[in-house]
Symmetry: C2
Subunit: 318 residues, 2 copies
Protein backbone atom coordinates (compact mmCIF):
# COMPACT_ATOMS: atom_id res chain seq x y z
CA UNK A 1 0.00 0.00 0.00
CA UNK A 2 1.35 3.38 -0.99
CA UNK A 3 0.37 6.42 1.00
CA UNK A 4 2.48 8.84 -0.97
CA UNK A 5 1.82 10.32 -4.40
CA UNK A 6 3.30 8.47 -7.35
CA UNK A 7 3.43 11.46 -9.67
CA UNK A 8 6.67 13.32 -9.12
CA UNK A 9 6.63 16.51 -11.16
CA UNK A 10 5.34 19.09 -11.66
CA UNK A 11 2.34 18.30 -9.43
CA UNK A 12 1.75 18.01 -6.50
CA UNK A 13 4.16 20.14 -4.50
CA UNK A 14 4.02 20.33 -0.71
CA UNK A 15 1.72 21.14 1.08
CA UNK A 16 -0.73 19.49 -1.36
CA UNK A 17 0.79 16.06 -0.75
CA UNK A 18 -0.78 16.07 2.74
CA UNK A 19 -4.15 16.28 1.04
CA UNK A 20 -6.28 18.65 -1.02
CA UNK A 21 -9.59 20.29 -0.16
CA UNK A 22 -12.50 22.10 -1.76
CA UNK A 23 -14.15 24.47 0.71
CA UNK A 24 -17.11 26.68 -0.12
CA UNK A 25 -16.07 27.16 -3.74
CA UNK A 26 -12.27 27.23 -3.48
CA UNK A 27 -9.51 24.60 -3.73
CA UNK A 28 -6.67 24.60 -1.17
CA UNK A 29 -4.23 22.30 0.63
CA UNK A 30 -6.20 20.40 3.29
CA UNK A 31 -4.20 22.06 6.07
CA UNK A 32 -5.73 25.40 5.09
CA UNK A 33 -9.33 24.14 5.06
CA UNK A 34 -10.97 25.61 8.15
CA UNK A 35 -14.55 26.40 9.09
CA UNK A 36 -15.79 29.31 11.24
CA UNK A 37 -16.29 28.51 14.94
CA UNK A 38 -19.70 30.15 14.56
CA UNK A 39 -20.82 27.85 11.70
CA UNK A 40 -23.80 25.67 12.60
CA UNK A 41 -22.16 22.77 10.76
CA UNK A 42 -19.86 22.69 13.78
CA UNK A 43 -21.87 24.50 16.43
CA UNK A 44 -25.05 22.40 16.04
CA UNK A 45 -23.45 19.50 14.17
CA UNK A 46 -25.92 20.53 11.46
CA UNK A 47 -24.10 18.73 8.68
CA UNK A 48 -24.11 15.51 6.75
CA UNK A 49 -21.25 13.77 5.03
CA UNK A 50 -20.10 10.75 3.09
CA UNK A 51 -16.74 9.11 2.49
CA UNK A 52 -15.59 7.31 -0.64
CA UNK A 53 -12.34 5.39 -0.94
CA UNK A 54 -9.73 5.57 -3.70
CA UNK A 55 -7.64 2.44 -4.18
CA UNK A 56 -4.99 1.99 -6.88
CA UNK A 57 -6.09 5.24 -8.47
CA UNK A 58 -9.80 4.42 -8.70
CA UNK A 59 -12.90 5.36 -6.67
CA UNK A 60 -14.99 2.48 -5.31
CA UNK A 61 -18.74 2.86 -5.94
CA UNK A 62 -18.43 6.61 -6.43
CA UNK A 63 -21.99 7.08 -7.69
CA UNK A 64 -23.46 5.10 -4.78
CA UNK A 65 -21.71 7.41 -2.32
CA UNK A 66 -22.82 10.56 -4.14
CA UNK A 67 -26.42 9.25 -4.32
CA UNK A 68 -26.44 8.53 -0.57
CA UNK A 69 -24.86 11.94 0.13
CA UNK A 70 -27.67 13.59 -1.86
CA UNK A 71 -30.34 11.59 0.03
CA UNK A 72 -28.77 12.64 3.35
CA UNK A 73 -28.72 16.30 2.31
CA UNK A 74 -32.36 16.15 1.23
CA UNK A 75 -33.36 14.57 4.55
CA UNK A 76 -31.79 17.50 6.41
CA UNK A 77 -33.13 20.21 4.03
CA UNK A 78 -29.55 21.00 2.99
CA UNK A 79 -29.36 22.36 -0.57
CA UNK A 80 -25.88 23.44 -1.64
CA UNK A 81 -25.53 25.02 -5.10
CA UNK A 82 -23.62 22.07 -6.63
CA UNK A 83 -25.30 19.35 -8.74
CA UNK A 84 -24.32 15.67 -8.43
CA UNK A 85 -22.19 16.03 -11.56
CA UNK A 86 -20.40 19.01 -10.04
CA UNK A 87 -19.81 17.09 -6.80
CA UNK A 88 -18.36 14.22 -8.84
CA UNK A 89 -16.00 16.65 -10.60
CA UNK A 90 -14.92 18.19 -7.26
CA UNK A 91 -14.10 14.76 -5.83
CA UNK A 92 -12.01 13.84 -8.88
CA UNK A 93 -10.19 17.14 -8.62
CA UNK A 94 -9.33 16.99 -4.89
CA UNK A 95 -7.83 13.52 -5.41
CA UNK A 96 -5.96 14.71 -8.51
CA UNK A 97 -4.64 17.77 -6.65
CA UNK A 98 -3.37 15.55 -3.83
CA UNK A 99 -1.73 13.15 -6.30
CA UNK A 100 -2.79 10.29 -4.01
CA UNK A 101 -3.33 6.80 -5.46
CA UNK A 102 -4.88 5.58 -2.18
CA UNK A 103 -7.10 8.13 -0.53
CA UNK A 104 -9.87 8.72 1.98
CA UNK A 105 -12.19 11.18 0.27
CA UNK A 106 -14.73 13.08 2.36
CA UNK A 107 -17.67 15.17 1.20
CA UNK A 108 -19.50 17.30 3.80
CA UNK A 109 -22.44 19.66 3.46
CA UNK A 110 -22.67 22.22 6.28
CA UNK A 111 -25.60 24.42 7.26
CA UNK A 112 -23.56 27.60 7.46
CA UNK A 113 -25.53 30.05 9.60
CA UNK A 114 -28.29 32.60 9.13
CA UNK A 115 -27.04 36.12 8.35
CA UNK A 116 -26.54 38.43 11.36
CA UNK A 117 -29.80 39.89 12.56
CA UNK A 118 -31.95 37.18 10.93
CA UNK A 119 -34.13 34.76 12.85
CA UNK A 120 -31.99 31.93 14.25
CA UNK A 121 -33.65 29.21 12.17
CA UNK A 122 -31.75 26.56 10.16
CA UNK A 123 -33.98 27.19 7.13
CA UNK A 124 -32.12 30.51 6.79
CA UNK A 125 -28.68 28.93 6.67
CA UNK A 126 -26.57 28.96 3.49
CA UNK A 127 -25.59 25.34 2.87
CA UNK A 128 -22.14 24.81 1.37
CA UNK A 129 -19.76 21.96 0.60
CA UNK A 130 -16.46 20.92 2.12
CA UNK A 131 -14.65 18.04 0.39
CA UNK A 132 -11.16 16.69 0.78
CA UNK A 133 -8.81 13.87 -0.09
CA UNK A 134 -6.16 12.71 2.40
CA UNK A 135 -3.92 9.62 2.49
CA UNK A 136 -5.90 6.42 3.03
CA UNK A 137 -6.47 5.64 6.71
CA UNK A 138 -7.66 2.27 7.94
CA UNK A 139 -9.99 1.81 10.89
CA UNK A 140 -8.03 -1.29 11.93
CA UNK A 141 -4.27 -1.80 12.10
CA UNK A 142 -2.54 -4.58 10.15
CA UNK A 143 -1.98 -6.39 13.45
CA UNK A 144 -5.69 -6.24 14.29
CA UNK A 145 -6.61 -7.55 10.83
CA UNK A 146 -4.20 -10.48 11.21
CA UNK A 147 -5.29 -11.61 14.70
CA UNK A 148 -8.92 -10.55 14.33
CA UNK A 149 -10.50 -7.59 16.07
CA UNK A 150 -11.38 -7.73 19.75
CA UNK A 151 -14.88 -6.34 20.15
CA UNK A 152 -17.02 -5.47 23.17
CA UNK A 153 -20.55 -4.30 23.85
CA UNK A 154 -20.53 -1.11 25.96
CA UNK A 155 -23.14 0.30 28.35
CA UNK A 156 -23.82 3.34 26.16
CA UNK A 157 -26.70 2.88 23.70
CA UNK A 158 -26.78 3.98 20.05
CA UNK A 159 -28.77 7.17 19.39
CA UNK A 160 -32.19 5.83 18.29
CA UNK A 161 -33.75 6.42 14.84
CA UNK A 162 -36.59 8.33 16.55
CA UNK A 163 -33.99 10.99 17.49
CA UNK A 164 -31.71 10.89 14.45
CA UNK A 165 -32.04 8.59 11.43
CA UNK A 166 -28.75 6.65 11.30
CA UNK A 167 -29.20 6.21 7.52
CA UNK A 168 -28.43 9.94 7.26
CA UNK A 169 -24.68 9.89 7.77
CA UNK A 170 -23.90 12.29 10.60
CA UNK A 171 -21.31 13.47 13.09
CA UNK A 172 -23.40 12.77 16.21
CA UNK A 173 -20.66 10.49 17.48
CA UNK A 174 -20.97 11.12 21.23
CA UNK A 175 -22.34 7.64 21.84
CA UNK A 176 -19.74 6.02 19.56
CA UNK A 177 -16.95 8.02 21.21
CA UNK A 178 -18.15 6.98 24.68
CA UNK A 179 -18.11 3.40 23.40
CA UNK A 180 -14.49 3.80 22.30
CA UNK A 181 -13.52 4.88 25.83
CA UNK A 182 -15.43 1.90 27.28
CA UNK A 183 -13.64 -0.41 24.83
CA UNK A 184 -10.27 1.01 25.80
CA UNK A 185 -11.03 0.48 29.50
CA UNK A 186 -12.01 -3.13 28.74
CA UNK A 187 -8.87 -3.80 26.71
CA UNK A 188 -10.85 -4.25 23.50
CA UNK A 189 -10.23 -2.70 20.08
CA UNK A 190 -13.75 -1.56 19.24
CA UNK A 191 -17.24 -1.21 20.71
CA UNK A 192 -20.43 -2.45 19.04
CA UNK A 193 -23.43 -0.51 20.33
CA UNK A 194 -26.87 -1.89 21.13
CA UNK A 195 -30.13 -0.03 20.68
CA UNK A 196 -32.62 0.53 23.49
CA UNK A 197 -34.19 -2.88 22.82
CA UNK A 198 -30.90 -4.73 23.21
CA UNK A 199 -30.33 -5.39 19.52
CA UNK A 200 -26.97 -4.86 17.81
CA UNK A 201 -26.63 -1.67 15.70
CA UNK A 202 -23.14 -0.65 14.55
CA UNK A 203 -19.70 0.53 15.65
CA UNK A 204 -17.88 3.84 15.21
CA UNK A 205 -17.98 4.17 11.45
CA UNK A 206 -18.61 0.55 10.53
CA UNK A 207 -21.42 -1.96 10.03
CA UNK A 208 -21.33 -5.45 11.54
CA UNK A 209 -22.29 -8.94 10.44
CA UNK A 210 -22.44 -12.21 12.33
CA UNK A 211 -22.46 -15.76 10.99
CA UNK A 212 -24.17 -18.69 12.69
CA UNK A 213 -24.42 -22.16 11.13
CA UNK A 214 -23.34 -20.73 7.79
CA UNK A 215 -26.03 -18.05 7.69
CA UNK A 216 -24.86 -14.43 7.53
CA UNK A 217 -26.90 -11.70 9.26
CA UNK A 218 -26.71 -7.93 9.71
CA UNK A 219 -28.93 -5.50 11.67
CA UNK A 220 -32.02 -4.19 9.90
CA UNK A 221 -32.34 -1.02 11.98
CA UNK A 222 -30.37 1.55 13.92
CA UNK A 223 -27.38 1.53 11.59
CA UNK A 224 -26.08 3.22 8.47
CA UNK A 225 -26.96 1.46 5.22
CA UNK A 226 -23.29 1.16 4.39
CA UNK A 227 -21.97 0.96 0.85
CA UNK A 228 -19.45 -1.70 1.89
CA UNK A 229 -22.34 -3.48 3.67
CA UNK A 230 -24.18 -3.56 0.32
CA UNK A 231 -21.01 -4.94 -1.28
CA UNK A 232 -20.88 -7.72 1.32
CA UNK A 233 -24.45 -8.65 0.46
CA UNK A 234 -23.46 -8.90 -3.21
CA UNK A 235 -20.51 -11.12 -2.27
CA UNK A 236 -22.79 -13.36 -0.20
CA UNK A 237 -25.22 -13.73 -3.12
CA UNK A 238 -22.34 -14.55 -5.45
CA UNK A 239 -21.03 -17.16 -2.99
CA UNK A 240 -24.44 -18.68 -2.42
CA UNK A 241 -24.48 -17.64 1.25
CA UNK A 242 -27.81 -16.72 2.83
CA UNK A 243 -27.69 -13.14 4.16
CA UNK A 244 -30.44 -11.99 6.50
CA UNK A 245 -31.23 -8.37 7.34
CA UNK A 246 -33.06 -8.44 10.67
CA UNK A 247 -32.89 -7.68 14.38
CA UNK A 248 -29.92 -9.35 16.06
CA UNK A 249 -30.19 -9.62 19.87
CA UNK A 250 -26.95 -9.13 21.81
CA UNK A 251 -27.04 -12.75 23.03
CA UNK A 252 -27.14 -14.11 19.48
CA UNK A 253 -24.30 -11.80 18.44
CA UNK A 254 -22.12 -12.88 21.37
CA UNK A 255 -22.76 -16.56 20.61
CA UNK A 256 -22.12 -16.35 16.84
CA UNK A 257 -19.61 -18.57 15.03
CA UNK A 258 -18.05 -15.60 13.30
CA UNK A 259 -18.31 -11.81 13.38
CA UNK A 260 -16.94 -9.20 11.03
CA UNK A 261 -17.19 -5.46 10.57
CA UNK A 262 -17.05 -3.54 7.29
CA UNK A 263 -16.43 0.04 6.23
CA UNK A 264 -15.03 2.15 3.41
CA UNK A 265 -11.93 2.77 5.50
CA UNK A 266 -10.94 -0.85 6.00
CA UNK A 267 -13.07 -3.15 3.85
CA UNK A 268 -14.07 -6.38 5.61
CA UNK A 269 -12.54 -6.69 9.08
CA UNK A 270 -13.03 -10.04 10.87
CA UNK A 271 -13.22 -10.30 14.67
CA UNK A 272 -11.75 -12.99 16.87
CA UNK A 273 -13.18 -11.99 20.28
CA UNK A 274 -16.37 -10.47 21.64
CA UNK A 275 -16.72 -9.41 25.29
CA UNK A 276 -13.73 -11.60 26.12
CA UNK A 277 -15.21 -14.71 24.48
CA UNK A 278 -12.87 -16.31 21.97
CA UNK A 279 -14.52 -17.10 18.63
CA UNK A 280 -13.28 -20.46 17.34
CA UNK A 281 -9.47 -20.50 17.37
CA UNK A 282 -8.92 -16.80 18.28
CA UNK A 283 -8.37 -15.96 14.62
CA UNK A 284 -10.59 -14.54 11.83
CA UNK A 285 -13.27 -17.08 10.88
CA UNK A 286 -13.14 -19.00 7.58
CA UNK A 287 -16.27 -17.52 5.94
CA UNK A 288 -15.25 -14.00 6.96
CA UNK A 289 -11.79 -14.55 5.52
CA UNK A 290 -13.20 -15.95 2.29
CA UNK A 291 -15.45 -12.91 1.88
CA UNK A 292 -12.56 -10.60 2.68
CA UNK A 293 -10.24 -12.26 0.15
CA UNK A 294 -12.93 -12.17 -2.53
CA UNK A 295 -13.64 -8.49 -1.76
CA UNK A 296 -10.03 -7.48 -2.51
CA UNK A 297 -9.76 -9.85 -5.50
CA UNK A 298 -12.77 -8.20 -7.08
CA UNK A 299 -11.47 -4.74 -6.20
CA UNK A 300 -8.22 -5.59 -8.01
CA UNK A 301 -10.32 -6.69 -11.00
CA UNK A 302 -11.95 -3.24 -11.15
CA UNK A 303 -15.24 -4.06 -9.42
CA UNK A 304 -17.41 -0.88 -9.18
CA UNK A 305 -14.27 1.14 -9.98
CA UNK A 306 -14.11 4.64 -11.46
CA UNK A 307 -10.57 5.71 -12.41
CA UNK A 308 -9.62 9.11 -10.98
CA UNK A 309 -9.07 11.78 -13.63
CA UNK A 310 -5.56 12.81 -12.60
CA UNK A 311 -5.37 15.19 -15.57
CA UNK A 312 -7.32 17.65 -13.39
CA UNK A 313 -4.16 18.18 -11.32
CA UNK A 314 -3.04 21.55 -12.64
CA UNK A 315 -2.66 24.19 -9.97
CA UNK A 316 -6.01 25.81 -9.17
CA UNK A 317 -6.52 29.48 -9.83
CA UNK A 318 -7.27 31.52 -6.72
CA UNK B 1 -30.16 47.17 24.77
CA UNK B 2 -26.89 48.13 23.15
CA UNK B 3 -25.26 45.79 20.70
CA UNK B 4 -22.36 48.08 19.89
CA UNK B 5 -19.28 48.86 21.96
CA UNK B 6 -19.47 51.92 24.20
CA UNK B 7 -15.74 52.52 24.34
CA UNK B 8 -14.71 54.61 21.35
CA UNK B 9 -10.95 54.89 21.31
CA UNK B 10 -8.40 53.51 21.09
CA UNK B 11 -9.95 50.06 21.46
CA UNK B 12 -11.66 48.20 19.81
CA UNK B 13 -11.07 48.88 16.13
CA UNK B 14 -12.86 46.91 13.42
CA UNK B 15 -12.89 43.91 12.94
CA UNK B 16 -12.85 43.32 16.71
CA UNK B 17 -16.22 45.03 17.14
CA UNK B 18 -17.87 42.03 15.46
CA UNK B 19 -16.52 39.90 18.29
CA UNK B 20 -13.28 38.59 19.74
CA UNK B 21 -12.04 35.02 20.03
CA UNK B 22 -9.42 32.93 21.80
CA UNK B 23 -8.54 29.86 19.75
CA UNK B 24 -5.98 27.28 20.80
CA UNK B 25 -3.78 29.81 22.62
CA UNK B 26 -4.19 32.91 20.44
CA UNK B 27 -6.53 35.92 20.47
CA UNK B 28 -8.07 37.13 17.20
CA UNK B 29 -11.18 38.82 15.75
CA UNK B 30 -14.00 36.25 15.78
CA UNK B 31 -14.17 36.31 11.98
CA UNK B 32 -10.68 34.78 11.86
CA UNK B 33 -11.45 31.96 14.34
CA UNK B 34 -11.65 28.79 12.27
CA UNK B 35 -11.14 25.12 13.04
CA UNK B 36 -9.65 22.45 10.76
CA UNK B 37 -12.19 20.42 8.77
CA UNK B 38 -10.31 17.34 10.00
CA UNK B 39 -10.71 18.22 13.71
CA UNK B 40 -12.80 15.69 15.64
CA UNK B 41 -14.46 18.56 17.51
CA UNK B 42 -16.28 19.11 14.21
CA UNK B 43 -15.91 15.76 12.49
CA UNK B 44 -17.25 13.64 15.39
CA UNK B 45 -18.91 16.50 17.29
CA UNK B 46 -16.43 15.48 19.99
CA UNK B 47 -16.69 18.71 21.90
CA UNK B 48 -18.46 20.28 24.84
CA UNK B 49 -19.30 23.91 25.43
CA UNK B 50 -20.97 26.42 27.66
CA UNK B 51 -22.35 29.91 27.16
CA UNK B 52 -22.37 32.76 29.66
CA UNK B 53 -24.13 36.07 29.12
CA UNK B 54 -22.77 39.58 29.67
CA UNK B 55 -25.38 42.25 30.44
CA UNK B 56 -24.60 45.89 31.23
CA UNK B 57 -20.92 45.04 31.36
CA UNK B 58 -21.19 42.13 33.82
CA UNK B 59 -21.16 38.34 33.51
CA UNK B 60 -24.17 36.48 34.99
CA UNK B 61 -23.20 33.49 37.18
CA UNK B 62 -19.78 33.23 35.58
CA UNK B 63 -18.42 30.69 38.07
CA UNK B 64 -21.49 28.46 37.70
CA UNK B 65 -20.91 28.30 33.93
CA UNK B 66 -17.20 27.58 34.31
CA UNK B 67 -17.93 24.87 36.90
CA UNK B 68 -20.47 23.19 34.58
CA UNK B 69 -18.06 23.52 31.64
CA UNK B 70 -15.40 21.72 33.72
CA UNK B 71 -17.84 18.94 34.68
CA UNK B 72 -18.78 18.50 31.01
CA UNK B 73 -15.12 18.28 29.97
CA UNK B 74 -14.40 15.72 32.69
CA UNK B 75 -17.38 13.60 31.58
CA UNK B 76 -15.96 13.47 28.04
CA UNK B 77 -12.32 12.91 29.14
CA UNK B 78 -11.39 16.31 27.67
CA UNK B 79 -8.43 17.88 29.47
CA UNK B 80 -7.23 21.15 27.94
CA UNK B 81 -4.13 22.77 29.47
CA UNK B 82 -6.03 25.73 30.99
CA UNK B 83 -7.14 25.86 34.65
CA UNK B 84 -10.52 27.30 35.68
CA UNK B 85 -8.78 30.55 36.65
CA UNK B 86 -7.17 30.74 33.23
CA UNK B 87 -10.51 30.10 31.53
CA UNK B 88 -12.04 32.89 33.61
CA UNK B 89 -9.26 35.26 32.50
CA UNK B 90 -9.75 34.28 28.84
CA UNK B 91 -13.48 34.99 29.02
CA UNK B 92 -12.86 38.42 30.58
CA UNK B 93 -10.34 39.19 27.87
CA UNK B 94 -12.46 38.18 24.85
CA UNK B 95 -15.27 40.41 26.11
CA UNK B 96 -12.82 43.25 26.79
CA UNK B 97 -11.28 42.86 23.33
CA UNK B 98 -14.72 43.06 21.72
CA UNK B 99 -15.64 46.11 23.79
CA UNK B 100 -19.17 44.70 24.08
CA UNK B 101 -21.35 45.63 27.08
CA UNK B 102 -23.94 43.00 26.10
CA UNK B 103 -22.43 39.80 24.83
CA UNK B 104 -23.00 36.11 24.17
CA UNK B 105 -19.82 34.44 25.41
CA UNK B 106 -19.06 30.88 24.31
CA UNK B 107 -16.43 28.50 25.66
CA UNK B 108 -15.80 25.27 23.71
CA UNK B 109 -13.36 22.43 24.34
CA UNK B 110 -12.60 20.38 21.22
CA UNK B 111 -10.99 16.96 20.97
CA UNK B 112 -8.54 17.96 18.24
CA UNK B 113 -7.38 14.74 16.57
CA UNK B 114 -4.73 12.08 17.11
CA UNK B 115 -1.42 12.81 15.37
CA UNK B 116 -1.03 11.34 11.85
CA UNK B 117 -0.11 7.67 11.98
CA UNK B 118 -1.43 7.18 15.52
CA UNK B 119 -4.31 4.88 16.43
CA UNK B 120 -7.61 6.62 15.67
CA UNK B 121 -8.73 6.77 19.30
CA UNK B 122 -10.13 9.88 21.03
CA UNK B 123 -7.86 9.29 24.04
CA UNK B 124 -5.00 10.35 21.75
CA UNK B 125 -6.58 13.69 20.82
CA UNK B 126 -5.09 17.00 21.99
CA UNK B 127 -7.93 18.87 23.66
CA UNK B 128 -7.92 22.64 23.22
CA UNK B 129 -10.17 25.62 23.90
CA UNK B 130 -12.10 27.93 21.63
CA UNK B 131 -13.82 30.89 23.31
CA UNK B 132 -15.47 33.97 21.88
CA UNK B 133 -17.63 36.97 22.65
CA UNK B 134 -20.11 38.27 20.08
CA UNK B 135 -22.98 40.77 20.34
CA UNK B 136 -25.84 39.49 22.49
CA UNK B 137 -28.33 37.39 20.54
CA UNK B 138 -31.74 36.47 21.89
CA UNK B 139 -33.46 33.17 21.20
CA UNK B 140 -36.80 34.97 20.94
CA UNK B 141 -37.64 38.22 19.13
CA UNK B 142 -39.17 41.19 21.00
CA UNK B 143 -42.45 40.47 19.21
CA UNK B 144 -42.45 36.84 20.44
CA UNK B 145 -41.70 37.98 23.99
CA UNK B 146 -44.60 40.45 23.89
CA UNK B 147 -47.25 38.09 22.50
CA UNK B 148 -45.88 34.95 24.13
CA UNK B 149 -44.10 32.16 22.26
CA UNK B 150 -46.02 29.69 20.16
CA UNK B 151 -44.76 26.22 20.99
CA UNK B 152 -45.39 22.78 19.50
CA UNK B 153 -44.45 19.19 20.26
CA UNK B 154 -42.81 17.55 17.23
CA UNK B 155 -42.62 13.90 16.18
CA UNK B 156 -38.83 13.73 16.63
CA UNK B 157 -37.73 12.53 20.08
CA UNK B 158 -34.92 13.99 22.21
CA UNK B 159 -31.69 11.95 22.17
CA UNK B 160 -31.98 9.84 25.35
CA UNK B 161 -29.56 10.04 28.32
CA UNK B 162 -28.58 6.40 27.64
CA UNK B 163 -27.01 7.64 24.38
CA UNK B 164 -25.73 11.06 25.43
CA UNK B 165 -26.10 12.67 28.85
CA UNK B 166 -27.97 15.96 28.19
CA UNK B 167 -26.37 17.45 31.33
CA UNK B 168 -23.12 17.47 29.33
CA UNK B 169 -23.74 20.45 27.07
CA UNK B 170 -23.20 19.29 23.51
CA UNK B 171 -23.68 20.07 19.83
CA UNK B 172 -25.72 16.93 19.02
CA UNK B 173 -28.54 19.14 17.79
CA UNK B 174 -29.90 16.96 14.97
CA UNK B 175 -33.08 16.20 16.91
CA UNK B 176 -33.51 19.83 17.98
CA UNK B 177 -32.87 21.03 14.41
CA UNK B 178 -35.44 18.55 13.05
CA UNK B 179 -37.85 19.93 15.66
CA UNK B 180 -37.24 23.47 14.38
CA UNK B 181 -38.21 22.39 10.87
CA UNK B 182 -41.35 20.68 12.23
CA UNK B 183 -42.20 23.84 14.17
CA UNK B 184 -41.77 25.98 11.08
CA UNK B 185 -44.06 23.67 9.07
CA UNK B 186 -46.67 23.93 11.84
CA UNK B 187 -46.46 27.71 12.00
CA UNK B 188 -45.03 27.64 15.53
CA UNK B 189 -42.00 29.50 16.91
CA UNK B 190 -40.32 26.64 18.78
CA UNK B 191 -40.47 22.89 19.34
CA UNK B 192 -40.41 21.21 22.75
CA UNK B 193 -39.18 17.63 22.44
CA UNK B 194 -40.49 14.59 24.29
CA UNK B 195 -38.39 11.63 25.39
CA UNK B 196 -39.15 8.03 24.40
CA UNK B 197 -41.59 7.72 27.32
CA UNK B 198 -43.64 10.72 26.23
CA UNK B 199 -42.35 13.12 28.88
CA UNK B 200 -41.28 16.69 28.14
CA UNK B 201 -37.53 17.35 27.94
CA UNK B 202 -36.35 20.67 26.49
CA UNK B 203 -36.18 22.85 23.38
CA UNK B 204 -33.29 23.95 21.18
CA UNK B 205 -31.07 25.60 23.76
CA UNK B 206 -33.64 26.22 26.47
CA UNK B 207 -35.30 24.55 29.46
CA UNK B 208 -39.04 24.62 30.00
CA UNK B 209 -41.38 25.02 32.97
CA UNK B 210 -45.14 24.67 33.25
CA UNK B 211 -47.48 26.02 35.92
CA UNK B 212 -50.73 24.34 36.98
CA UNK B 213 -52.87 25.57 39.89
CA UNK B 214 -50.02 27.80 41.03
CA UNK B 215 -47.45 25.00 41.19
CA UNK B 216 -44.37 25.34 38.99
CA UNK B 217 -42.77 22.21 37.48
CA UNK B 218 -39.78 21.40 35.27
CA UNK B 219 -38.54 18.07 33.82
CA UNK B 220 -36.26 16.00 36.05
CA UNK B 221 -34.58 14.10 33.21
CA UNK B 222 -33.56 14.33 29.58
CA UNK B 223 -32.61 18.00 29.73
CA UNK B 224 -29.68 20.26 30.48
CA UNK B 225 -29.43 21.43 34.09
CA UNK B 226 -29.57 25.03 32.95
CA UNK B 227 -28.03 27.88 34.89
CA UNK B 228 -31.05 30.07 34.14
CA UNK B 229 -33.24 27.11 35.19
CA UNK B 230 -31.44 27.15 38.56
CA UNK B 231 -32.05 30.91 38.75
CA UNK B 232 -35.78 30.34 38.14
CA UNK B 233 -35.82 27.88 41.05
CA UNK B 234 -34.23 30.54 43.28
CA UNK B 235 -36.86 33.07 42.16
CA UNK B 236 -39.65 30.58 42.93
CA UNK B 237 -38.26 29.96 46.41
CA UNK B 238 -38.02 33.71 47.02
CA UNK B 239 -41.62 34.20 45.82
CA UNK B 240 -42.93 31.30 47.92
CA UNK B 241 -43.91 29.31 44.82
CA UNK B 242 -43.67 25.52 44.92
CA UNK B 243 -41.30 24.27 42.20
CA UNK B 244 -41.30 20.55 41.41
CA UNK B 245 -38.57 18.75 39.48
CA UNK B 246 -40.18 15.60 38.07
CA UNK B 247 -41.45 13.83 34.95
CA UNK B 248 -43.99 15.91 33.04
CA UNK B 249 -46.16 13.93 30.59
CA UNK B 250 -47.01 15.67 27.31
CA UNK B 251 -50.72 15.75 28.22
CA UNK B 252 -50.04 17.63 31.47
CA UNK B 253 -47.77 20.08 29.64
CA UNK B 254 -50.37 20.78 26.94
CA UNK B 255 -53.07 21.34 29.58
CA UNK B 256 -51.03 23.64 31.84
CA UNK B 257 -52.21 27.11 32.91
CA UNK B 258 -48.89 28.66 31.93
CA UNK B 259 -45.67 27.62 30.20
CA UNK B 260 -42.35 29.39 29.91
CA UNK B 261 -38.90 28.63 28.60
CA UNK B 262 -35.60 29.92 29.94
CA UNK B 263 -32.05 30.24 28.68
CA UNK B 264 -28.91 32.34 28.95
CA UNK B 265 -29.72 33.87 25.56
CA UNK B 266 -33.14 35.22 26.45
CA UNK B 267 -33.82 34.88 30.19
CA UNK B 268 -37.40 33.85 30.98
CA UNK B 269 -39.58 33.56 27.86
CA UNK B 270 -43.32 32.97 28.43
CA UNK B 271 -45.46 31.05 25.94
CA UNK B 272 -49.03 31.80 24.91
CA UNK B 273 -49.79 28.77 22.73
CA UNK B 274 -48.93 25.07 22.65
CA UNK B 275 -49.88 22.82 19.73
CA UNK B 276 -52.40 25.42 18.64
CA UNK B 277 -54.10 25.56 22.05
CA UNK B 278 -54.37 29.10 23.42
CA UNK B 279 -53.20 29.43 27.03
CA UNK B 280 -55.52 31.80 28.93
CA UNK B 281 -55.88 35.04 26.97
CA UNK B 282 -53.24 34.35 24.29
CA UNK B 283 -50.68 36.37 26.21
CA UNK B 284 -47.85 35.51 28.66
CA UNK B 285 -49.31 34.18 31.94
CA UNK B 286 -49.27 36.28 35.15
CA UNK B 287 -46.92 34.08 37.20
CA UNK B 288 -44.50 33.74 34.26
CA UNK B 289 -44.51 37.50 33.79
CA UNK B 290 -43.94 38.13 37.50
CA UNK B 291 -40.95 35.77 37.47
CA UNK B 292 -39.62 37.41 34.31
CA UNK B 293 -39.94 40.92 35.72
CA UNK B 294 -38.26 39.88 38.97
CA UNK B 295 -35.45 38.16 37.01
CA UNK B 296 -34.52 41.39 35.22
CA UNK B 297 -35.03 43.54 38.35
CA UNK B 298 -32.55 41.38 40.23
CA UNK B 299 -30.15 41.38 37.27
CA UNK B 300 -30.22 45.19 37.31
CA UNK B 301 -29.45 45.05 41.05
CA UNK B 302 -26.30 43.02 40.34
CA UNK B 303 -27.61 39.53 41.18
CA UNK B 304 -24.84 36.92 40.59
CA UNK B 305 -22.96 39.59 38.59
CA UNK B 306 -19.22 39.73 37.89
CA UNK B 307 -18.12 42.99 36.24
CA UNK B 308 -16.03 42.43 33.11
CA UNK B 309 -12.45 43.62 33.43
CA UNK B 310 -12.39 45.92 30.40
CA UNK B 311 -8.84 47.02 31.31
CA UNK B 312 -7.69 43.81 29.57
CA UNK B 313 -8.56 45.39 26.21
CA UNK B 314 -5.12 46.29 24.95
CA UNK B 315 -4.24 44.80 21.59
CA UNK B 316 -3.00 41.24 21.94
CA UNK B 317 0.51 40.36 20.90
CA UNK B 318 0.69 37.83 18.09
Amino acid sequence: MKDTPETQAPWPPAPWTAGAAFLDGRYMPVGEARIPVTDWGYRRSDVTYDVVGVWEGAFFRLDDHIARFRRSMEALHLRPPETDDEIRAILHRVVALSGLRHAYVAMDCLRGAPPPGALRHPALGRAYLSCYAVPWVSVASEEMLARGMHLMIPQVRRIPPESFDPRVKNFHWGDLTAGMFEAQAAGADFAILLDGQGNVTEGAGFNVFCITDGVVATPARGALEGVTRASVMELCAEAGLACEVRDIPAEEFRAADEIFACTTAGGIMPASRIDGRILRNDRPGPISERLRARFWEKRAEGWHATPVNYALAEEPAG
